[in-house]
Protein backbone atom coordinates (compact mmCIF):
# COMPACT_ATOMS: atom_id res chain seq x y z
CA UNK A 1 0.00 0.00 0.00
CA UNK A 2 1.31 3.46 -0.90
CA UNK A 3 2.38 5.64 1.99
CA UNK A 4 0.73 8.69 0.52
CA UNK A 5 -2.63 9.36 -1.05
CA UNK A 6 -3.73 12.05 -3.49
CA UNK A 7 -6.51 14.45 -2.57
CA UNK A 8 -8.21 16.53 -5.25
CA UNK A 9 -9.76 19.45 -3.45
CA UNK A 10 -12.08 22.12 -4.84
CA UNK A 11 -10.57 25.59 -4.66
CA UNK A 12 -12.62 28.72 -5.20
CA UNK A 13 -11.63 32.21 -4.28
CA UNK A 14 -14.49 34.66 -4.91
CA UNK A 15 -12.00 37.50 -5.31
CA UNK A 16 -10.00 35.82 -8.06
CA UNK A 17 -11.85 32.91 -9.64
CA UNK A 18 -14.79 32.87 -12.00
CA UNK A 19 -15.41 29.19 -11.25
CA UNK A 20 -14.04 26.55 -8.89
CA UNK A 21 -10.98 24.54 -9.87
CA UNK A 22 -9.32 21.46 -8.42
CA UNK A 23 -6.00 21.40 -6.62
CA UNK A 24 -4.15 18.15 -6.04
CA UNK A 25 -2.41 17.50 -2.72
CA UNK A 26 -0.37 14.55 -1.60
CA UNK A 27 -0.97 13.63 2.00
CA UNK A 28 0.33 10.77 4.16
CA UNK A 29 -1.84 7.69 4.02
CA UNK A 30 -2.74 6.27 7.39
CA UNK A 31 -5.28 3.56 7.90
CA UNK A 32 -6.99 5.37 10.77
CA UNK A 33 -7.23 8.71 8.97
CA UNK A 34 -10.52 10.07 7.79
CA UNK A 35 -10.89 12.58 4.95
CA UNK A 36 -11.13 15.37 7.50
CA UNK A 37 -7.72 14.39 8.92
CA UNK A 38 -6.27 14.71 5.43
CA UNK A 39 -7.86 18.15 5.01
CA UNK A 40 -6.48 19.22 8.38
CA UNK A 41 -3.04 18.00 7.28
CA UNK A 42 -3.29 20.13 4.13
CA UNK A 43 -4.40 23.13 6.18
CA UNK A 44 -1.60 22.70 8.75
CA UNK A 45 1.31 21.65 6.53
CA UNK A 46 0.65 22.39 2.86
CA UNK A 47 -1.74 25.28 2.30
CA UNK A 48 -3.13 27.31 5.17
CA UNK A 49 -5.56 29.12 2.89
CA UNK A 50 -7.79 26.06 2.38
CA UNK A 51 -11.24 26.81 3.80
CA UNK A 52 -13.73 24.25 5.11
CA UNK A 53 -16.04 23.74 8.06
CA UNK A 54 -15.51 21.25 10.82
CA UNK A 55 -15.93 21.06 14.55
CA UNK A 56 -16.46 17.91 16.60
CA UNK A 57 -14.70 15.20 14.53
CA UNK A 58 -17.14 12.59 15.80
CA UNK A 59 -20.22 12.79 13.60
CA UNK A 60 -22.26 14.88 16.00
CA UNK A 61 -22.04 18.51 14.86
CA UNK A 62 -22.84 17.94 11.17
CA UNK A 63 -20.40 20.67 10.07
CA UNK A 64 -18.02 18.70 7.88
CA UNK A 65 -20.43 17.45 5.22
CA UNK A 66 -18.82 17.48 1.77
CA UNK A 67 -18.94 15.57 -1.47
CA UNK A 68 -16.38 12.77 -1.36
CA UNK A 69 -15.91 11.16 -4.75
CA UNK A 70 -19.32 12.52 -5.73
CA UNK A 71 -21.18 11.21 -2.67
CA UNK A 72 -22.41 13.40 0.19
CA UNK A 73 -20.43 12.31 3.25
CA UNK A 74 -19.43 13.47 6.69
CA UNK A 75 -15.67 13.78 6.18
CA UNK A 76 -15.05 12.95 9.83
CA UNK A 77 -16.64 9.55 9.32
CA UNK A 78 -15.23 8.71 5.89
CA UNK A 79 -11.98 6.79 5.98
CA UNK A 80 -9.24 7.26 3.42
CA UNK A 81 -8.81 3.50 3.44
CA UNK A 82 -12.18 3.18 1.67
CA UNK A 83 -10.67 4.87 -1.40
CA UNK A 84 -6.92 4.09 -1.24
CA UNK A 85 -4.85 3.77 -3.33
CA UNK A 86 -7.01 5.88 -5.71
CA UNK A 87 -7.21 9.66 -5.39
CA UNK A 88 -10.00 11.11 -3.29
CA UNK A 89 -11.95 14.01 -4.73
CA UNK A 90 -13.39 16.41 -2.14
CA UNK A 91 -15.94 19.01 -3.24
CA UNK A 92 -18.35 21.33 -1.45
CA UNK A 93 -21.87 20.05 -0.84
CA UNK A 94 -23.78 19.88 -4.10
CA UNK A 95 -26.70 22.27 -4.83
CA UNK A 96 -25.52 24.89 -2.32
CA UNK A 97 -23.83 28.14 -3.37
CA UNK A 98 -20.09 28.00 -2.73
CA UNK A 99 -18.69 30.77 -0.56
CA UNK A 100 -15.06 29.68 -0.69
CA UNK A 101 -13.22 26.40 -1.37
CA UNK A 102 -15.31 23.79 0.49
CA UNK A 103 -17.51 26.21 2.40
CA UNK A 104 -21.12 26.49 1.29
CA UNK A 105 -23.73 29.09 2.04
CA UNK A 106 -26.39 27.52 4.28
CA UNK A 107 -28.74 30.41 5.07
CA UNK A 108 -31.39 28.92 2.79
CA UNK A 109 -31.50 25.75 4.89
CA UNK A 110 -31.56 27.70 8.15
CA UNK A 111 -34.49 29.84 6.96
CA UNK A 112 -36.44 26.76 5.86
CA UNK A 113 -35.69 24.99 9.10
CA UNK A 114 -37.03 27.89 11.14
CA UNK A 115 -40.16 28.09 8.98
CA UNK A 116 -41.27 24.55 9.88
CA UNK A 117 -41.04 25.38 13.61
CA UNK A 118 -38.87 22.48 14.78
CA UNK A 119 -39.58 22.90 18.45
CA UNK A 120 -42.30 21.79 20.86
CA UNK A 121 -45.35 23.99 20.59
CA UNK A 122 -47.45 23.70 23.68
CA UNK A 123 -49.48 26.13 25.66
CA UNK A 124 -49.34 24.60 29.11
CA UNK A 125 -49.03 21.47 31.16
CA UNK A 126 -46.32 19.03 32.11
CA UNK A 127 -44.26 17.45 29.36
CA UNK A 128 -44.70 13.81 30.35
CA UNK A 129 -43.88 11.04 27.92
CA UNK A 130 -43.66 7.26 28.02
CA UNK A 131 -40.75 5.34 26.42
CA UNK A 132 -43.22 4.00 23.83
CA UNK A 133 -44.20 7.55 22.86
CA UNK A 134 -40.53 8.46 22.63
CA UNK A 135 -39.86 5.55 20.27
CA UNK A 136 -42.39 6.91 17.79
CA UNK A 137 -40.29 9.95 16.85
CA UNK A 138 -36.83 9.08 18.21
CA UNK A 139 -35.17 8.22 14.90
CA UNK A 140 -36.14 11.61 13.41
CA UNK A 141 -34.62 13.39 16.39
CA UNK A 142 -31.21 11.95 15.42
CA UNK A 143 -30.91 14.49 12.59
CA UNK A 144 -27.77 16.60 13.00
CA UNK A 145 -28.59 19.14 10.26
CA UNK A 146 -25.57 18.12 8.21
CA UNK A 147 -27.46 18.82 4.95
CA UNK A 148 -26.17 15.69 3.23
CA UNK A 149 -29.76 14.85 2.35
CA UNK A 150 -30.10 18.16 0.50
CA UNK A 151 -26.94 17.44 -1.47
CA UNK A 152 -28.40 14.05 -2.43
CA UNK A 153 -31.81 15.38 -3.41
CA UNK A 154 -32.16 16.23 -7.12
CA UNK A 155 -35.50 17.91 -6.39
CA UNK A 156 -33.74 20.47 -4.20
CA UNK A 157 -31.14 20.99 -6.93
CA UNK A 158 -33.79 21.60 -9.56
CA UNK A 159 -36.21 23.54 -7.36
CA UNK A 160 -34.40 25.51 -4.64
CA UNK A 161 -37.76 26.52 -3.15
CA UNK A 162 -38.33 22.92 -1.99
CA UNK A 163 -38.40 22.84 1.81
CA UNK A 164 -36.13 19.81 1.70
CA UNK A 165 -35.76 16.45 3.45
CA UNK A 166 -34.18 17.42 6.78
CA UNK A 167 -36.56 20.30 7.49
CA UNK A 168 -39.60 18.12 6.75
CA UNK A 169 -38.22 15.20 8.77
CA UNK A 170 -37.65 17.51 11.73
CA UNK A 171 -41.13 18.98 11.40
CA UNK A 172 -42.51 15.46 11.39
CA UNK A 173 -40.38 14.65 14.43
CA UNK A 174 -42.33 17.30 16.37
CA UNK A 175 -45.67 16.51 14.73
CA UNK A 176 -45.56 12.95 16.06
CA UNK A 177 -44.15 13.93 19.45
CA UNK A 178 -46.91 13.27 21.99
CA UNK A 179 -46.01 16.49 23.86
CA UNK A 180 -46.45 18.74 20.83
CA UNK A 181 -49.61 20.58 19.87
CA UNK A 182 -48.33 22.50 16.86
CA UNK A 183 -49.10 20.13 13.97
CA UNK A 184 -51.79 22.47 12.62
CA UNK A 185 -49.35 25.41 12.58
CA UNK A 186 -46.82 23.38 10.60
CA UNK A 187 -49.43 22.08 8.19
CA UNK A 188 -49.65 25.42 6.34
CA UNK A 189 -45.93 25.35 5.55
CA UNK A 190 -45.52 21.66 4.91
CA UNK A 191 -48.56 21.05 2.75
CA UNK A 192 -47.62 23.73 0.23
CA UNK A 193 -46.41 22.72 -3.21
CA UNK A 194 -42.83 23.55 -2.17
CA UNK A 195 -43.31 21.39 0.92
CA UNK A 196 -44.09 17.70 0.87
CA UNK A 197 -45.75 17.67 -2.56
CA UNK A 198 -42.55 18.68 -4.34
CA UNK A 199 -40.92 15.44 -3.20
CA UNK A 200 -40.92 12.80 -5.92
CA UNK A 201 -39.61 10.10 -3.59
CA UNK A 202 -36.20 9.59 -5.10
CA UNK A 203 -35.25 8.18 -1.69
CA UNK A 204 -31.58 9.11 -1.85
CA UNK A 205 -31.90 11.37 1.22
CA UNK A 206 -32.52 8.31 3.36
CA UNK A 207 -29.65 6.42 1.75
CA UNK A 208 -27.02 9.08 2.48
CA UNK A 209 -28.10 10.02 6.00
CA UNK A 210 -25.15 9.33 8.34
CA UNK A 211 -27.46 9.06 11.36
CA UNK A 212 -29.89 6.62 9.72
CA UNK A 213 -32.81 9.02 9.83
CA UNK A 214 -35.44 8.31 7.19
CA UNK A 215 -36.44 11.69 5.72
CA UNK A 216 -38.05 10.04 2.69
CA UNK A 217 -40.26 8.00 5.01
CA UNK A 218 -41.14 11.12 7.02
CA UNK A 219 -42.23 12.94 3.88
CA UNK A 220 -44.40 10.03 2.71
CA UNK A 221 -45.95 9.77 6.18
CA UNK A 222 -46.75 13.45 6.11
CA UNK A 223 -48.22 13.21 2.61
CA UNK A 224 -50.66 10.67 4.02
CA UNK A 225 -51.47 12.94 6.99
CA UNK A 226 -51.98 15.97 4.73
CA UNK A 227 -54.20 13.98 2.35
CA UNK A 228 -56.29 12.72 5.29
CA UNK A 229 -56.63 16.26 6.66
CA UNK A 230 -57.66 17.55 3.26
CA UNK A 231 -60.25 14.79 2.92
CA UNK A 232 -61.58 15.49 6.40
CA UNK A 233 -61.89 19.19 5.63
CA UNK A 234 -63.80 18.25 2.48
CA UNK A 235 -66.24 16.03 4.36
CA UNK A 236 -66.56 18.26 7.39
CA UNK A 237 -65.77 21.82 6.27
CA UNK A 238 -67.35 23.24 9.42
CA UNK A 239 -65.11 21.17 11.71
CA UNK A 240 -61.82 21.57 9.84
CA UNK A 241 -60.69 24.73 11.60
Amino acid sequence: MAETIQLEVTRYSPEHDAAPTFQRFEVPYRKDWVVLDALNYIKDKLDGSLSYRWSCRMGICGSCGMMVNGEPKLTCATFLSSYAPDAVRVEPLRYFPVVRDLVVEMTDFMVKLQKVKPWIIRKDGEYLQTPQQLDVYKQFSMCINCMLCYAACPVYGLDPLFTGPAAIALAQRYNIDSRDQGAKERMDILSQHEGIWACTFVGECTEVCPKHVDPAGAIQQYKLTAAKEWFKSLLMPWGAK
Binding site: Y12, P14, E15, D17, A19, P20, G70, R94, Y95, P97, V98, V99, R100, E105, V136, Y137, Q139, F140, P154, G157, L158, I176, T200, F201, V202, G203, E204, T206, E207, D214, A216, G217, A218, Q220, Q221
Partner: protein, 107 residues
Protein backbone atom coordinates in the same frame (compact mmCIF):
# COMPACT_ATOMS: atom_id res chain seq x y z
CA UNK B 1 -28.40 52.50 -6.60
CA UNK B 2 -28.11 50.12 -9.54
CA UNK B 3 -31.18 48.25 -10.84
CA UNK B 4 -29.57 45.09 -9.50
CA UNK B 5 -29.33 46.57 -6.03
CA UNK B 6 -32.88 47.88 -6.24
CA UNK B 7 -34.10 44.31 -6.74
CA UNK B 8 -32.47 43.36 -3.48
CA UNK B 9 -30.11 40.87 -5.12
CA UNK B 10 -26.97 39.86 -3.29
CA UNK B 11 -24.05 42.11 -4.11
CA UNK B 12 -20.41 41.32 -3.78
CA UNK B 13 -18.75 43.26 -0.98
CA UNK B 14 -15.82 42.47 1.27
CA UNK B 15 -18.22 41.17 3.88
CA UNK B 16 -20.61 39.44 1.52
CA UNK B 17 -18.57 37.37 -0.92
CA UNK B 18 -19.73 36.45 -4.39
CA UNK B 19 -21.11 32.93 -4.32
CA UNK B 20 -20.57 30.35 -6.98
CA UNK B 21 -23.73 28.52 -7.98
CA UNK B 22 -23.46 25.25 -9.83
CA UNK B 23 -25.98 24.71 -12.60
CA UNK B 24 -27.78 21.37 -12.43
CA UNK B 25 -27.22 19.49 -15.66
CA UNK B 26 -30.21 18.38 -17.73
CA UNK B 27 -28.66 14.92 -17.62
CA UNK B 28 -28.28 14.78 -13.81
CA UNK B 29 -30.18 11.50 -13.79
CA UNK B 30 -27.45 9.80 -15.81
CA UNK B 31 -24.80 10.60 -13.24
CA UNK B 32 -25.69 7.83 -10.86
CA UNK B 33 -27.37 4.46 -11.20
CA UNK B 34 -29.69 5.30 -8.28
CA UNK B 35 -31.02 8.39 -10.08
CA UNK B 36 -31.40 6.51 -13.35
CA UNK B 37 -33.39 3.85 -11.53
CA UNK B 38 -35.63 6.57 -10.15
CA UNK B 39 -36.27 8.01 -13.63
CA UNK B 40 -36.98 4.53 -15.03
CA UNK B 41 -39.39 3.97 -12.17
CA UNK B 42 -41.16 7.23 -13.02
CA UNK B 43 -41.33 6.26 -16.69
CA UNK B 44 -42.92 2.96 -15.73
CA UNK B 45 -45.94 4.99 -14.63
CA UNK B 46 -46.81 5.35 -18.34
CA UNK B 47 -47.39 1.59 -18.50
CA UNK B 48 -49.29 1.65 -15.23
CA UNK B 49 -51.55 4.43 -16.56
CA UNK B 50 -52.02 2.47 -19.80
CA UNK B 51 -52.96 -0.60 -17.80
CA UNK B 52 -55.54 1.42 -15.82
CA UNK B 53 -57.08 2.84 -19.02
CA UNK B 54 -57.30 -0.63 -20.59
CA UNK B 55 -58.93 -2.02 -17.45
CA UNK B 56 -61.47 0.82 -17.42
CA UNK B 57 -62.25 0.21 -21.09
CA UNK B 58 -62.66 -3.48 -20.34
CA UNK B 59 -65.14 -2.76 -17.54
CA UNK B 60 -66.99 -0.30 -19.78
CA UNK B 61 -67.30 -2.83 -22.60
CA UNK B 62 -68.38 -5.50 -20.13
CA UNK B 63 -71.19 -3.25 -18.93
CA UNK B 64 -72.41 -2.80 -22.53
CA UNK B 65 -73.06 -6.48 -23.10
CA UNK B 66 -71.45 -9.58 -24.63
CA UNK B 67 -71.14 -8.12 -28.15
CA UNK B 68 -69.30 -5.03 -27.00
CA UNK B 69 -67.02 -7.16 -24.88
CA UNK B 70 -66.30 -9.46 -27.83
CA UNK B 71 -65.39 -6.38 -29.90
CA UNK B 72 -63.08 -5.20 -27.11
CA UNK B 73 -61.41 -8.62 -26.98
CA UNK B 74 -60.99 -8.65 -30.74
CA UNK B 75 -59.32 -5.23 -30.60
CA UNK B 76 -57.04 -6.28 -27.80
CA UNK B 77 -55.79 -9.27 -29.80
CA UNK B 78 -53.96 -6.81 -31.98
CA UNK B 79 -50.41 -6.53 -30.56
CA UNK B 80 -50.44 -2.82 -31.40
CA UNK B 81 -52.85 -2.21 -28.52
CA UNK B 82 -51.37 -4.39 -25.85
CA UNK B 83 -47.78 -4.32 -24.73
CA UNK B 84 -46.60 -7.75 -23.70
CA UNK B 85 -47.94 -8.89 -20.33
CA UNK B 86 -44.33 -9.32 -19.28
CA UNK B 87 -43.46 -5.63 -19.80
CA UNK B 88 -46.68 -4.59 -18.03
CA UNK B 89 -45.89 -6.90 -15.15
CA UNK B 90 -42.32 -5.57 -14.89
CA UNK B 91 -43.48 -1.97 -15.01
CA UNK B 92 -46.16 -2.33 -12.37
CA UNK B 93 -43.75 -4.27 -10.17
CA UNK B 94 -40.99 -1.68 -10.46
CA UNK B 95 -43.46 1.14 -9.90
CA UNK B 96 -44.88 -0.66 -6.88
CA UNK B 97 -41.43 -1.06 -5.40
CA UNK B 98 -41.39 2.60 -4.36
CA UNK B 99 -42.94 1.75 -1.02
CA UNK B 100 -39.85 -0.23 -0.15
CA UNK B 101 -37.46 2.68 -0.73
CA UNK B 102 -38.03 4.47 2.56
CA UNK B 103 -37.64 2.57 5.79
CA UNK B 104 -41.02 3.67 7.17
CA UNK B 105 -39.85 2.78 10.62
CA UNK B 106 -42.36 4.99 12.37
CA UNK B 107 -45.28 4.30 10.09
Amino acid sequence: MTPHEAKGATQYTTYHPRWYRTRVSTYWWLGKWYYLKFVLRELSSIFVAYFVVITLLQIHSLSRGPEAYARFEERMRNPRWTPSPFSLCCSTRSHGSISRRGRWSCA
